[in-house]
């Protein structure tokens, strides 16, 4: 169709209305210090004008070598390490690991602890998705949803803090249950750390507020024409691409992949008795990824409301030996992190520390598709696509 003459002018053969100069390729660094890369991701883009012809994500600015560090730490110590992988959903990171260790050792966690884990995981999911729903419009240029969503998220953070003592990095899981006692040591009296008084009321309040946030976001963001034209048909990921690239979680479900590990892995957390839907959509574009997350907030609210009414009575922790030695063997356990499939492959050789821990984090696979999706996009589309994948650099680099 097009021919390039010696002056570098492309002539379009149908009538010659569009005669445009062909520009040079310009290499543009987006990141590591850039407002929309969520930390220190660097995208090396080759652009012609604003059209991206090649994109190469460069990661590793936040690589902390957690897999290597895990090889010199005992299992309880690793819990503190791994909840910093995806710092927006700290608690959810711990679950798959602690379940893997429990399965290897054969220690059965108490039912009460399992239900508390489930509630905290779902609270984390709501909080994570609210962070997404607030930061994504910001990347598209709307600043206000950020404040609105964070305002309501605060109630959830308060609940998590009141239970675990931490807002971002709870470090609340123990092998066989959850953290049983605060204080301790020689001088302090041991205090039983169960769910705090007023827990149910504050959870109920937080859920009402989260629902309010969803309604507000629907009005302010979802129904906004400009948000829609910026995100619809932008950054489309097909079902085939999604599974081949290992894209998981809400990103995959937006492409129609029905995987939800809460349903597929019933022995990780007791989701079996709870009534909730797996949200999937068909188009796989940025808008769908946004919609899936908003819908998942509502589903998670449903789950939490059911779960708080069915927390069984009983001890918080099963009987565990003082020095935890894990029998030899290897295991992979995955759980539905707010960002996708979070899994730990643990090779134990019978000692106090693991021989090898492979951390499978969701964001790593999720953003690896950027170099494919971004080709042919404009720079604003790139930002819209990148934001819709909801990654955290700690979860990418580990």
């Amino acid at each position: 169709m097009t021919q390039l003459d010696s002056r570098g002018i492309v002539e379009v053969s149908d009538g010659g209305v569009s005669v445009e100069l062909k520009g040079e390729a310009m290499t543009l660094n987006i990141g590591p210090q850039h407002p929309s890369t969520h930390g220190v991701l660097r995208l090396v883009a080759e652009v012609d004008g604003e059209r991206i012809s090649k994109l190469d994500p460069a990661i590793g600015y936040m690589h902390r070598g957690k897999e290597k560090l895990s090889e010199v730490r005992t299992y309880p110590q690793i819990t503190a390490l791994i909840n910093r992988i995806d710092w927006v959903s700290g608690f959810a990171n711990e679950v798959a690991f602690i379940r893997a260790v429990e399965k290897l050792t054969g220690i059965e966690p108490t039912e009460r602890a399992q239900m508390i884990r489930l509630i905290l995981t779902e609270l984390t999911r709501i909080s994570n998705h609210l962070v997404f729903a607030s930061s994504y419009p910001l990347e598209l240029g709307a600043a206000t949803p950020l404040m609105w969503a964070f305002r309501e998220r605060e109630h959830i953070m308060d609940v998590i803090e009141s239970v675990t003592g931490g807002r971002f990095h709870p470090n609340f899981n123990r092998v066989g249950g959850v953290k049983p006692a605060a204080g301790g040591g020689k001088t302090q009296k041991k205090v039983s750390l169960d769910l705090p008084s007023g827990f149910y009321a504050s959870v109920e309040n937080a859920m009402d507020k989260a629902e309010l946030a969803c309604d507000e976001l629907d009005e302010l963001v979802t129904g906004n024409e400009m948000i829609q034209i910026r995100t619809k048909d932008v950054g489309i990921i097909s079902y085939e691409d999604a599974v081949a690239y290992g894209i998981s979680g809400p990103n995959a479900r937006a492409s129609g992949v029905p995987t939800d590990l809460r349903k597929l892995e019933p022995d990780v957390l007791p989701y079996a008795g709870l009534d909730f839907d797996v949200i999937t959509r068909e188009n796989g574009d940025s808008f769908d990824r946004y919609l899936v997350r908003i819908a998942e907030i509502r589903e998670s609210i449903k789950i939490v409301r059911q779960a708080v009414n069915s927390v069984p009575a009983g001890p918080l922790q099963a009987k565990v030996p003082r020095v935890l030695k894990v029998p030899a063997g290897s295991i992979y356990v995955r759980a539905e992190n707010p960002k996708g499939e979070m899994g730990y492959y643990i090779v134990s050789q019978g000692g106090r520390v693991p021989y090898r821990v492979k951390i499978r984090s969701a964001s790593f696979s999720n953003i690896s598709i950027m170099s494919k999706v971004a080709v042919g996009q404009l720079i604003p589309d790139l930002v819209a696509t990148m934001g819709s994948l909801d990654f955290v650099l700690g979860d990418v680099d580990r």
Binding site: G141, T144, P380
Partner: protein, 340 residues
């Protein structure tokens, strides 16, 4: 009395008054944006500087910027880089020449008022283009190019919307346009009713003009040249210290001037029904100020509610919707003018 004052002295006074108004209103506007955006986002905004409600916050910021080091990148085109803020601000200040703040209060009542406005207000975009080009930075370059494209697309709706006003008023002078709006259209029960143009035929023009002026001002949803989440800070990425402040000030002064134009052309300017000319001489500036702040509130409200659109969508909006609509508006206005 005014005839007896020497021209030079009068001009000097006018310059000082306009400068004072522009800077004063801009500072108030910066404060207002901080506060309004805070309330939109359920925050309190500035709170400490100045004792009460943080009223001195913009001043404190200005003082802070005064103390910042002024950096010129090595790779920048030095002259263009340094000249850009001058062009930006000169263009903005010059727009105030023709804006009447009272029946007798106008720096200069130019016959070609509207023409002059359109020409001179594009000058600040030239400043933006220079900043983008001169910085030698890729983000700045893209931002500057975007600003140029925006000017091209939205200058036309501005011009064509004002053509309809010119048809209705029969003059290009802004004072003349205000007077035309003050002229009674009809009488109900012995009371002469005069309406500003937004209510008497130019509603489409008003909406289009506001949209296009948002684009000219690079305000959200058309803030592509700055586009923080894409181009870090667009054309001002490399500017620091007072040079940056000048762009900042230029942006806000530009908003004030654009709001003044909208108020004058569509909302009746200094005029308010029921006030005599002599009363308007005193109250006029305040009436205009109130209208200006109403328009500015719209600008701020839009910015903190909407996201940013993409350049191709921006171009599409201008060429496919606004320009045909303004042409239609011209036809309708002209037909009405002849028929009535």
């Amino acid at each position: 009395m005014i005839e007896n004052v020497p021209f030079a002295l009068l001009l000097g006074i006018k310059v000082l008054v306009v400068l004072g108004l522009m800077l004063g209103v801009s500072l108030v506007l910066i404060y207002a944006e901080l506060k309004w955006s805070a309330h939109i986002q359920s925050r309190v905004g500035p709170w400490y500087v100045g004792g009460r409600w943080g009223w001195a916050h913009p001043l404190a910021e200005a003082v802070k910027f005064l103390q910042k080091e002024d950096l010129v990148p090595e790779e920048a085109d030095d002259k263009v880089f340094r000249l850009a803020p001058y062009v930006m601000l000169a263009g903005t200040v010059a727009t105030f020449v023709v804006i009447p703040i009272g029946p007798e209060w106008v720096a200069r009542n130019l016959d070609v008022g509207i023409f002059y406005l359109l020409a001179i207000s594009s000058l600040s975009t030239l400043g933006v283009l220079m900043a983008g080009w001169g910085s030698g930075n890729k983000y700045s370059l893209i931002g500057g190019v975007r600003a140029g494209a925006q000017l091209i697309a939205y200058e036309l709706p501005l011009v064509l919307a004002l053509v309809a006003v010119a048809i209705q008023a029969g003059t290009l002078s802004l004072t003349g346009i205000v007077e035309a709006q003050a002229t009674p259209l009809f009488t109900i029960g012995g009371v002469d009713i005069a309406l500003p143009y937004v209510l008497s035929g130019q509603i489409i023009g008003f909406v289009i003009f506001v949209i296009a002026s948002l684009a000219e001002l690079n305000r959200t949803p058309f803030d592509l040249p700055l586009a923080e989440s894409e181009l870090t800070m667009g054309y001002v990425t490399e500017y620091s210290g007072l040079r940056f402040t000048m762009f900042f000030l230029g942006e806000y002064a530009g908003m004030v001037s654009m709001a003044a134009i909208v108020s004058t052309v569509y909302l009746g300017g200094y005029w308010m029904p029921g006030l005599s000319d002599s009363a308007l001489d005193i109250a006029g500036p305040f009436i205009l100020l109130a209208k200006i702040f109403f328009v500015l509130f719209l600008f701020i409200w839009f910015r903190w509610t909407w996201p940013r659109i993409r350049e191709d969508q921006l171009q599409g909006l201008a060429w496919k919707w606004l320009i045909p609509l303004t042409l239609f508006n011209i036809i309708a206005t002209a037909t009405l003018k002849v028929v009535l």
